[in-house]
């Protein structure tokens, strides 16, 4: 199972993005500044943004899901229960998992942005997609929820998960790191070697590396393990 980008080129008014590379099974992190083109790349990979040139090839991928940054744009149900049903899943488990017990009949608009994001992500993770594209999944979530989301992502046993984010602190363990720089997608490689040439490397990873305590990966556990490592 893989998705290959072969000089996939997309153009918007005064901006363009060139992407090449292969995303194999596992968790991939695509980092970049705000406005660098992460969301556009996610749309390109979901075949929802027309390419000016190049191509994107999918092998053995039968199901694909893209989670947009703003959860309210996904809403189609008039109640929390209807919203869950619109994703093809039962509301009972979702409301318990998201702490929305007793609010099954509430309008999704009465939920806070954070609650809505939790509901949306729970609906997304209730199904097993071959290709899961998560655009800024950590936005609107508090530290506790971000940590929970990292665990959920890490527990996904199969398929390709691509996280498009500028989050710098709480991240899951990933198999490959990418970044968008000056309109180009760059493959930084596998962690920890990727840290050497990753421009958007999180400050905590940078600091630990500078102290000679290079973590194995970017998850909180890896950072703690590196920080507690005894030198010498």
């Amino acid at each position: 199972m893989k998705i290959s980008l072969n000089r996939a080129y997309a153009v918007r008014d005064h901006w363009s993005l060139l992407a090449s590379g292969t995303f194999n099974q596992g968790v991939h992190l695509v980092s970049g500044d705000v406005g660098s083109g992460k969301s556009t790349l996610a749309l390109m990979m979901a075949e929802l943004f027309p390419l000016s040139s190049g191509r994107i090839e999918k092998a053995e991928i039968t199901s694909c899901m893209l989670s947009l940054q703003f959860p309210e744009l996904h809403l189609t149900g008039r109640s929390v229960a209807e919203e869950c049903t619109s994703w093809g899943i039962s509301a009972d488990d979702i409301v318990v998992a998201t702490g929305l017990t007793g609010r099954k009949d509430a309008s999704p608009f009465s939920l806070s942005r954070g609650e809505l994001k939790r509901l949306h992500l729970a609906c997304i993770f209730a199904k097993d997609y071959d290709l899961l594209l998560l655009d800024e999944p950590f936005s609107s979530l508090d530290c506790q929820e971000k940590t929970k989301l990292c665990t959920t992502i890490e527990q996904k046993s199969r398929g390709i998960t691509v996280i498009f984010t500028h989050e710098q602190n709480i991240l899951p363990r990933v198999s490959r790191i990418w970044e968008i720089l000056d309109g180009k997608l760059i493959d930084c490689g596998r962690p920890p070697d990727a840290f050497l040439h990753w421009c958007h490397v999180p400050p905590s990873v940078k600091r630990l590396t500078a102290l000679g305590l290079r973590p194995d990966n970017i998850s909180m556990e890896d950072l703690q393990e590196a920080a507690c490592r005894i030198q010498g």
Binding site: L43, A46, L48, L68, E72, L73, H74, L75, T76, F109
Partner: protein, 217 residues
């Protein structure tokens, strides 16, 4: 066209000209072809085609019930083309400048601020609408009448939430009423030429063609 005052006045004159007579509509259309990047405008704003279809429908109804549907269709099409040009040329801050220039720092500023916020909302609604269509596509839903209610709810809710945020922000910053602004406008010779041609179009719309050729009688 650089000067928004001339641009808005021109659009108003041309729209009136197109509305009052078929002759005016024809000349306004020629003006639109000559003074705007016509083809690019139509290519960029895809809303042109659904709008034209709506007008075509009403024109057909009018024609079937004894009215002059064809004339209505032509006149309204030209008005829409002029409107699209005006919308596309508009830049942030222009309404505020024009309102202050016209009505002063108190009433003009208020009016301009409301207009600017309205225009900003329009572009945000348009961006949200595109994202909602994508989200529905992702869910495997087909766009149709059933999508209208949730889409409308999201757009209205989003717009109200943003309006509340803006109001709170203005209140926090101590805004009560009015404001100070020194509007500046850049007028290019071509703006004046285009404006004068629009006035000529207006005269052709209000004066019968036969009057032009009176000397030849």
């Amino acid at each position: 066209m650089q000067d928004p005052r001339i641009r808005i006045a021109t659009a108003a004159i041309l729209s009136i000209s197109a509305f009052i007579s078929l002759q005016g509509a024809a000349f306004a259309f020629f003006w639109w072809l000559g003074f705007t990047p016509a083809v690019q405008l139509v290519k960029k704003i895809r809303l042109v085609f659904p709008l034209l279809l709506t007008i075509a429908f009403f024109s057909l109804v009018l024609e079937l019930f004894g009215g002059n549907g064809l004339s209505y269709f032509i006149r309204m099409t030209v008005i829409i083309l002029i409107g699209i040009w005006l919308y596309k040329e508009q830049k942030p801050g222009e309404f505020l400048s024009i309102s202050v220039w016209l009505f002063g720092d108190r009433f003009g500023f208020e009016l301009g601020l409301v207009s600017e916020m309205g225009m900003q909302s329009l572009s945000l609604i348009s961006a949200d609408f595109k994202r909602i269509r994508l989200a529905e596509k992702i869910k495997g839903m087909r766009w149709g009448v059933r999508s209208l209610i949730p889409t409308g709810m999201i757009l209205v809710h989003g717009t109200l939430a943003r309006a509340q945020d803006s109001a709170e922000l203005l209140a926090i910053r101590g805004y009560r009423s009015g404001g100070t602004l020194c509007p500046e406008f850049l007028t290019k010779p071509m703006d004046v030429v285009a404006g004068l041609f629009a006035v000529c179009v207006f005269f052709t719309a209000v004066i019968p063609v036969s009057e032009f050729f009176i000397l030849y009688r």
